[in-house]
Symmetry: C2
């Protein structure tokens, strides 16, 4: 069995020679190769230059024995197309210049054609696909409607999501229009990424854990579902990512995706049971475990592998992205343990 | 049935005339009475002056038809006794001057006698108990070992709890000693609060949702359990509070408490089933729902009441504390709806 089939086969819950592994934010500040590039370019400059984005995407592939590459991009890249300019303020994360605060602001948002406005991402995908060994699959991605809406409304990262929830609860019509516009653009954007070479897509609903199950069902699920439904003719694995979702993993699955991505807040076997063993699963390692000594890390990695129990459809990953202080040698070691593991 | 028994009876899962209600952070910045006092005194000055702390505790009781008062204090008050000075930096939350970063730092922490160092809280409890109508129960509280440890290690509020988890994973001996010292002091502190007039105690593990279930079981549960076990001779309700705990509510109960407090991330009936219907339950309302129009708020409040289904042992509360921008009239309306509700 060659490596290409290992990752894609696991997504389809077919048998594999060993557990495939990739990591969220596997390209990034923890790698000196990336830091060197960031001395010359800003994050957005790297995203907008296809050759550079491709180079960053390939950095972890060239260094580690990973089973998948994920295109280097940012979930906020579609914002300017929608009509919202933003920047990354130094050390502070994203700043949206004129956040969405009213129904009128939502009305003004433009449903755009991602093949025009986000061509640079598509081009980067094409370059990476040409450089990737056949054995490594290429993942495209986009932010999910709730997570994107939260940035668009709050104007940046939020702790309590007060403005987001206020708009959601108090102006449901404006909320659903906003979510629908994001979903329409996102569906097309992911389709365009597949056309450009992505073999798998991942929908990132990073902050969805701020909501309860009922609100997720009423205000979010239909819109994330619209995206997955719009891609149903594409015979590729679709990964659905969230954090803090232990309370409604089964609803995340209902929204869509053939692989569910879980954080570390519930043991993998329990989460998988809730999702259903007839779905594939990825995630579960706390990114902070990777900052510890290797004995500790090894114990955490093996706990997850043992909880997976050799069931078909397990892809090893973090519950969220690598932190900048992640030691490269721990990443290397993890991959070796994971590939060397045999379920008993 | 008089009101006193309503709250205490619900904690014991006995029958009640209507659902009892109190709110976390029911005394605070959303009330003009409190803001007026804060113009003259800092938060810590209010906590340290028993007459003032009692006055603040009574503010929401004098204004609303609440079924319980919670002593005005801060979970960090035990820190100086342990040997850690801290302050509230303007607009930034707590700042611990010399955070705990090593086994030696943990060794130095002093297991102190709360009756000496925290006498001002105990005095405030006595004053409040004398002022409270007999129908309103008085709740004492303390921070749980994990949440206190996270502040002591991070030096303030944290988003990722990197340093906390690193110490926990990499120096388990130092971690368990730290947790044990906090648990010893906290158990005595809660006992002293009961001696001083508290009729119920609540253990706040506000940030415990940062951990996964296995880590909660290995690194936290034994220490929270030690506190509850140490109070087992006291025949009073004990409330166990956490947020983000949908993944291991049953473990929270295992640690202890006769009332489990849940956030909004899982419907109340599902959470209650996980905890066991033979336990009392409080919480579940998203504090941000209280910032919305009353139609929306009413819908959310009734959803919870209906999910409770008239089962014995339901206390209405938020999933976390009131935000400063909470409209007083919404608080008033909610209490009326809750007390007027009859389970069908």
């Amino acid at each position: 069995m060659d490596k290409e089939s290992r990752f894609l086969r696991a997504c389809r819950r077919e048998s594999v020679d060993c557990t495939p592994v990739w990591f969220m934010r596997q390209a990034g500040r923890y790698m000196e190769e990336y830091r060197a590039l960031r001395k010359k370019y800003t994050l957005l400059e790297l995203c907008h230059a296809p050759e550079l984005a491709a180079e960053v995407t390939m950095q972890p592939i060239n260094r580690f024995d990973l089973d998948a590459a994920i295109i280097f991009a940012d979930i906020l890249l579609p914002l300017p197309g929608l009509g919202l300019e933003f920047e990354f303020a130094v050390g502070e994360g994203p700043r949206i210049h004129k956040p969405v605060r009213s129904a009128a602001d939502v009305e003004r948002l433009r449903v755009f054609e991602p093949r025009e406005e986000l061509g640079f991402v598509l081009e980067a995908l094409g370059i990476v696909r040409g450089q990737l060994p056949k054995s490594v699959a290429l993942i495209g991605f986009a932010g999910a409607p709730f997570t994107l809406a939260s940035y668009m409304i709050e104007g940046g990262y939020s702790r309590h999501f007060v403005l987001t929830k206020q708009l959601m609860y108090s102006e449901p019509q404006a909320w659903h229009l906003l979510m629908d516009k994001i979903a329409t653009v996102t569906g097309e954007y992911l389709r365009a990424q597949v056309e450009a070479g992505a073999q798998v897509v991942q929908l990132f609903d990073s902050w969805i854990g701020a909501l309860g199950a009922d609100d997720y069902r009423d205000y979010v699920l239909p819109h994330s579902k619209k995206i997955f439904d719009s891609l149903s003719d594409l015979d590729i694995p679709k990964i659905h990512f969230g954090t803090g979702t232990s309370g409604y993993l089964e609803l995340m699955r209902q929204a869509g995706g053939t692989v569910q991505s879980v954080d570390w807040r519930m043991p993998l076997d329990q989460a998988w049971e809730k999702i259903g063993f007839d779905s594939a699963i990825q995630g579960n390692l706390d990114p902070i475990a990777v900052l510890c000594d290797q004995d500790t890390l090894k114990r955490k990695v093996f706990e997850i592998l043992e909880n997976a129990g050799g069931r078909p459809g397990h892809i090893f990953n973090l519950g969220h992205g690598f932190l900048p202080q992640t030691p490269v040698e721990n990443v290397e070691a993890m991959i070796e343990w994971i590939h060397g593991y045999k379920a008993s």
